[in-house]
């Protein structure tokens, strides 16, 4: 039927309906001006209209069980040459199954793309194109796309199956150590470089799409095709707080033109989360190393032109950061804070003891008094200097601390012992003349010995996990 015939049929049908039933045929014949075929067609339609009472009049109904079962594939189902083992993930509409490739005998991650209506050829073609593009990315930190399969009009993407856990679970179990976080970021961004080189933008980079294999290496999954789920996963069930908009660049959120720089934005968010456990825009976000924070901040600029302009540029910045971070002190863990406090406190007490010992020297007098004072002074200087040296090393040259401790331990043992002995001698000699001074000298000597024997090993073990003395 031509367009013109259809339009005439529409006019005839509508016109005839307005006529009384018994006059319709007559009216049609008159209007059709001898076009028999058209009269027959209109007549048949009118008959159908009369018998169509109830047809489509109530909107479609659906059994909720049917609706919920859409897209489910069960264990053992064959999809082409793949056999489904079980579901491993669900991102909105794209359900990911663990499947076995029966031809090659290997396990694959099989992503079932949304069942598309036959009429939706445009989207189908886009998915094909994007899967093909993603298959062009060859990089060790990107999960390899093996194949695009079309089975019964349905699209499946088979890709490398990665055994491991997601970066999300890593972040949830606590902040990452800075160098580890930056190393992860470098792996992610190296993968981005390879993808952007073949003009594939991830568009939905987030910790869930970054997997850490059992051997500790990074694999970015769902390149280019992930955004099909983007809008889905962004929707959260009631009560859920976290969703993907957190990783979406502003231009992506407002549906603007999207390019490779949206991935740069996502890296900024991920980097901050690895280092602080919080979104960069969270109000009560803990602090992070200044230089890493500067990198992240530049990534998440609202204006894409203010970000790093390419993955390669960002990669260079991260690599510089990694090199720097090797020279930077680590944030101080609580146990080490106590160890540092202990060293500082002991140093202060030792230094303070010089004054009572000077008073004791004056009381004792003569060569003996001088000898006791000089002994205590020398021992205190050595002990305090060594402790401050270790304290300084732990703050600024952490890597050398073990070596510094190994060297200092013997000297500290000797100087502490001499100091304690000197104090005891001073206390005993001054005893009768100045009892208060004697008590102070001896009490500090006992205290120093106790600290050295009990407290120091404890704080050292807590801070460094070793039992050797400082």
């Amino acid at each position: 039927m031509t367009r013109e015939q259809w339009e005439r049929l529409k006019v005839l049908f509508s016109g005839a309906l307005e006529q009384p039933a018994e006059r319709r045929h007559e009216w049609l014949t008159l209007q059709a001006q001898g076009d028999e075929a058209l009269v027959r067609e209109a007549g048949a339609l009118l008959d159908a209209h009369d018998t169509a009472a109830g047809f489509l009049e109530e909107p479609a109904v659906v059994d909720p069980a049917d609706l919920a079962a859409v897209d489910e594939l069960h264990t053992g189902t064959r999809i082409g040459s793949y056999e489904i083992e079980h579901e491993i993930g669900r991102g909105g509409m794209g359900v990911v199954y663990l499947a076995r490739d029966l031809r090659l005998g290997r396990r694959v991650a099989l992503k079932a793309l949304p069942q598309l209506h036959d009429s939706n050829e445009a989207l189908r073609e886009r998915l094909r194109r994007e899967a093909r593009a993603a298959a062009n990315i060859a990089h060790p930190t990107v999960a390899t796309v093996y194949a695009l399969e079309e089975v019964d009009g349905r699209l499946f993407i088979a890709s490398e199956y990665i055994e491991g856990h997601s970066l999300r679970s890593e972040i949830e179990s606590g902040r990452l150590e800075p160098r580890r976080a930056i190393a992860f970021a470098i792996d992610i961004v190296s993968g981005l470089c390879a993808a952007h080189d073949v003009r594939v933008v991830h568009r939905d980079l987030k910790p869930e799409n970054v997997l850490i294999t059992s051997s500790g290496s990074v694999k970015v999954v769902d390149f280019g095709i992930a955004h099909i789920d983007t809008i889905n996963t962004r929707l959260t069930r009631e009560g859920d707080v976290i969703g993907t908009p957190a990783y979406m660049a502003p231009e992506q959120l407002i549906g603007g033109t999207v390019d490779a720089r949206v991935d740069i934005y996502a890296v900024g968010v991920i980097l901050t989360e690895m280092l602080t456990g919080q979104h960069p825009l969270a109000p009560d976000r803990p602090s992070m190393p200044v230089s890493a924070s500067e990198i992240a901040w530049r990534c998440i600029q609202t204006d894409p032109n203010a970000r790093y302009q390419s993955a390669r540029e960002l990669l260079a910045a991260l690599e510089g950061e990694l090199a720097n971070s090797n020279a930077l002190p680590e944030p101080v863990p609580r146990a080490r804070w106590w160890w540092e406090f202990h060293q500082a406190a002991v140093s202060s007490v030792y230094a303070a003891m010089v004054w009572p010992t000077w008073l004791a020297r004056n009381v004792i007098g003569g060569q003996v008094g001088n000898a006791v004072f000089v002994t205590v002074l020398a021992a205190a200087i050595v002990a305090v200097t060594l402790r401050l040296h270790l304290w300084f090393t732990s703050r600024f040259y952490l890597a050398e601390l073990g070596w510094a401790r190994a060297r200092a331990t013997g000297w500290m043992l000797v100087s502490d012992a001499i100091l304690a002995s000197g104090l005891v001698v001073a206390g005993v000699l001054v005893g009768d003349a100045r009892p208060a001074l004697a008590v102070i000298e001896i009490a500090v000597a006992v205290g120093a010995a106790t600290a050295f024997a009990v407290v120091e090993p404890a704080t050292t073990r807590a801070a460094f996990g070793q039992t050797d003395r400082l």
Binding site: A44, D47, A48, L56, P64, V70, Q115
Partner: protein, 180 residues
């Protein structure tokens, strides 16, 4: 790289419909059916509270929701047919059990196929059917979505229904299935 809005919003609606269904399964008695109107409205209310709101307006949303419903019903009908392949003649009766006095159910696969053919002849009529039947819209709402008068929608709807009825009843492939 800006995605076509309909294509990229479909999964969203699709998924929301599925979530609603899952909610019903948890809460309600089994065997209960949901009408397109209720489903689409519920999905709209839930999605409209999202920030940023993914839809330009309700019309935009409903058009996508209706298409999603059509796809879901067709997919399930196909799955059933595949499951019963070789067994008794397949007939997907969607209205069955809802109201016993209701005329027999609609063969969704036959309807879908006929609707695709109608769309080639008259895209507007096909759209009206999709919105009214799969989206559960009233004549007035449909008129608003398409941007024509309610009278036009009524006329087109009457003809589309007659055309589809005839197509479904006489479709050779569905001779057995469609003899309701």
């Amino acid at each position: 790289m800006t995605p076509d809005p309909i294509s990229s919003l479909m999964p969203l609606v699709y998924d929301e419909l599925r979530r609603i269904a899952a909610g019903y399964i948890r809460r309600e008695r089994p065997g209960q059916t949901l009408q397109a109107t209720a489903l689409v409205n519920e999905a709209f209310v839930r999605l409209a509270s999202e920030r940023p709101r993914p839809f330009a307006n309700r019309q935009h949303f409903v058009a996508i929701a209706a298409l999603s419903m059509r796809q879901i019903l067709v997919q399930r009908a196909r799955a059933r047919k595949a499951a019963k392949r070789g067994g008794a003649p397949d007939r997907v009766t969607l209205d069955e059990g809802l109201v016993s006095a209701e005329p027999p159910g609609v063969d969704v696969l036959a309807l879908d196929e006929a609707l695709t053919r109608l769309a080639a002849l008259d895209p507007e009529q096909a759209r009206i059917v999709e919105l009214r039947y799969f989206g559960g819209l009233t004549v007035e709402e449909t008129a608003e979505v398409i941007g024509v008068s309610p009278a036009t929608v009524k006329r087109q709807w009457a003809m589309a229904r007659a055309w589809l009825k005839r197509a479904v009843d006489t479709a050779p492939d569905h001779g057995a299935d469609a003899s309701l």
